[in-house]
Symmetry: D2
Subunit: 294 residues, 4 copies
């Protein structure tokens, strides 16, 4: 039992540690495995390899037509995984909460049409089985990074889990949440930086790219970057996607909408299809400069 050691950690709250010197990370640490984790999905998609992972799609699944049109476009431009929200965590109870099961069915349809793996968020322990049935990757959102019953539950399935950083989570807390998933049996974890909350007002959050090389020093898990939620502004997504890749990220996740101005959720931070294809062209050059491909 590591209780003394871990309690020690909590009591030292606020103390900068030499990276993992006290062994607080176990299964997710480089000490446990110095080989980078690679996660294999259908269609030969592999996360954590030389080829970057590009996850794209609408923030929320709104209807079949919107979804199909978007995913066909992003596939053509080089996306390797399709995203789309069926269960939406919304600040207000009166906001659109997602199509739920119907959204999952549409996502399954997308998977059949494109042949690409799909990812969607799961918000409740009670939905884990259902969501796992329809998707290739389960996303744990920023608000649930420390929803420990949910982490334990997705730890007990085998489907890969994309874990988003909490909006004010430290790196230790982020990796210990991954440790919850791993220690319950599921080693297929992808970390995702999506911006932290600071005093800044011109962006939705502050993209903290230094976490990318820090994670690479401490952990064998892959890490991707979500510049859409990090910035909240369409025009910042392209430069921040390039910066993320230059910093060593294993991929990016972006929101794309055919008509952002009509989007039910997060239209301001959704790329138009033409923005997305331009982004793919430009990040290919940066990827090459750092020894990666798209």
């Amino acid at each position: 039992m590591e209780i003394p050691k871990l309690d020690h950690l909590e009591k030292m709250h606020g103390v900068e540690r030499v990276i993992n010197e006290s062994g607080i990370f176990k299964l997710v640490s480089k000490e446990f495995s110095d080989k980078p984790t690679k996660i294999k999905l259908i269609n030969n998609v592999e996360i954590g390899s030389k080829k970057l992972t590009i996850i794209a799609g609408p923030c929320a699944i709104e209807n079949k037509k919107q979804l199909i049109k978007t995913v066909e476009y992003v596939k053509k431009s080089g996306a390797t995984i399709i995203r789309g929200g069926a269960f939406k965590p919304r600040t207000s109870p009166y906001s659109f909460q997602g199509l739920e099961k119907k959204g999952l069915e549409l996502l399954e349809r997308v998977r059949q049409i494109t042949g690409l793996p799909v990812i969607t968020e799961v918000m409740s322990t009670e939905d884990v089985k259902l969501v796992a049935k329809y998707t290739d990757i389960l996303q744990i959102g920023t608000r649930n990074m420390q929803n420990f019953p949910l982490l334990k539950k997705v730890g007990k399935i085998k489907k890969p889990v994309l874990l988003k950083r909490g909006m004010s989570a430290t790196i230790e807390e982020f990796l210990l949440s991954a440790e919850y998933i791993y220690s319950h049996g599921n080693p297929n974890i992808i970390l995702c930086e999506r911006g932290i909350r600071t005093f800044g007002k011109m962006t939705r959050n502050t993209l903290d790219l230094s976490i990318v090389p820090l994670i690479k020093q401490i952990s064998h898990l892959p890490i991707i970057v979500d510049p859409s939620h990090a910035t909240g502004k369409r025009e910042l997504i392209l430069p921040m996607a390039k910066a993320a890749i230059a910093a060593g990220a294993d991929g990016i996740m972006v929101e794309v909408h055919t008509q952002p101005e009509k989007a039910l959720v997060d239209g301001n931070q959704s790329l138009r299809p033409s923005d997305f294809s331009q982004m793919m062209t430009e990040i290919a050059l940066v990827a090459k400069a750092v020894g990666r491909t798209i």
Copy 2:
């Protein structure tokens, strides 16, 4: 349907609003009810009235002896509600996770012995019924403030809910989480400020007392303050408890342990029994100065 209005809110992310001018808060707002909400519990305990609410007890329930000794002491010194954690949200999967059901049973025993209402945290939708059976108030912790399925679930029961502010939640987000509970059917909500995360390193969090008068302007819900988690330091709890009451809080919640140095969780921020009785003496004077009693 308020969807357009609310989406408008989310798009304006970062915009300071004249308080509730756009009507984003409904059921929790003063526009809905200008009479302060009072929550009645057993033993004539009432939250939100002139008499302040004093919630005290150990951070985690460790064993029967420790618990009974602590609660008898705090009752004698004037605590009106007993706290004790049975399910503990811990940063590391290897830390003590609480006694779970056995902890709830001990809490029920405390209720019988003292005649006082009890409060404990619920972390999972699947445990809501169980926890509601054993306790008088369900606590939603800071990490679950935006666990929307959990908010909806506790919205469907009638037991009072104490909602802790997320560690980087704005006041709007905090009240909209309360709105989730209220709009699903449960009006018995107590808000709780417990410190926000800032750059400060000498305290565990930064106690944001200005939220107390702000909440009083916007909402009819009672708000109490937790100086234990806010400061993380025993010696700061007493001055911050006095400050909270001077600012207009409806009560305080503190951790008490008979042997803090041996506590399994959060010993550094637990009052000793003698600290607690001194606190009660001193806050009584401040309470009187602002027209309240203990």
Copy 3:
């Protein structure tokens, strides 16, 4: 020479220390003097004693009539020191920058009329002598907390200095800035908490009252609280002033304006004269509850 020890501190950036265990604070620390510093001014005003210090007056000195009317009112209601800005640090170069020397002359007139000590901000090493000639206390503003040449300069005069905390300064940085003043020869230092910058949007800053008891543990210097700049909202000043005193502050500093809606600077956070007298009535009760007087 403590250089090695101090460099050690800077290298440990981010490390929580047991309070001053490594001796980084010298002259400002309790180890140096465990007797609280008291600062004596004209009219028997003493900062740091049982009687609280109440500093009040307009944010900026605008004209003689406005100033005289305001100070007569606040004196009548119990203010013991008069504030008024002659040199104003403004975010934009196009904003009103203060009356400068003419403002100082008006302040001197106020001193003659009321018999009360006066305080005003000094922003430049070149103005230190001039400002010292006209006032009883020199204020170093939040933007200059680490303007080291200015700290050294006010360290070489004998006039008391009120040092405001930087808007994102840690307690160590705050006390080390006071150490700059003390170590250059001036022990007459008053600390002032005025809110820190966080993600919060409903208040101008976040008032961090836990610094008050922390400073009392580490240092012998008096500390007062400025709820006007901390909150930026008139209606929050009274509850936060009461909270500050309950937390153990040695006094408060507030902005008062006879017509806040016409103020050239910071009208939203200025008390009306009637607000000020109500505040004095209410804080007198809280002061008594914590063993102080006004």
Copy 4:
């Protein structure tokens, strides 16, 4: 006179604005000049052009030998401007404060030997003339971003000024500080992002790269990035330098020391000479990928 408009800004504190829609930035804005500002220095060095600016050298000038050895190395590896601190802003009064005038003389010697332009920090209005005499660019440090008398003073000379972002400054505040310099007569301004203060503990600050494309949208001024102070960790400088360039920065500024473990200031964040030459090789590839050269 724009006073009403600007006061309006300050009253709206906390409000997200459509970029410069209210015209708060004048001379530094793209509305004033849509041609990017280019700053010409000796040796055909030009800041703000296609060729990136690489500023390198020791944090503090310690002695002639150390300085000459370092600058010869960084020149050989491609640095185009030499940095070196003569006046050091130190948190503690007991830390090494810099060689002051002697440091400036050594910097002049470096300029003669290498033929490269030099930059050093100026902390006091009284030193502006002296520092301007010895250097090609005057640096205003993060702690002085809102030292308005200093901004006005460097606004009255013609030497280029590198303005570092305050550690908790918003973009509006940053650009308005540049506006102070410009409106007092000096248009030769280089902005510098160097990390903001957040809750993060594994890095000294949090590098906020999204400011780079934001500045490019609002202003015609060049912006460079300082990954040394932003991260405080040697091993993060290379990935963050690449990310900065991918995001569109006009250059980078890094600290280099021949023996970091013996550095008087900031050794942990100083590159070794070999790190620097590797960085130059790698950033050249990223520069090419985004249409720039080094």
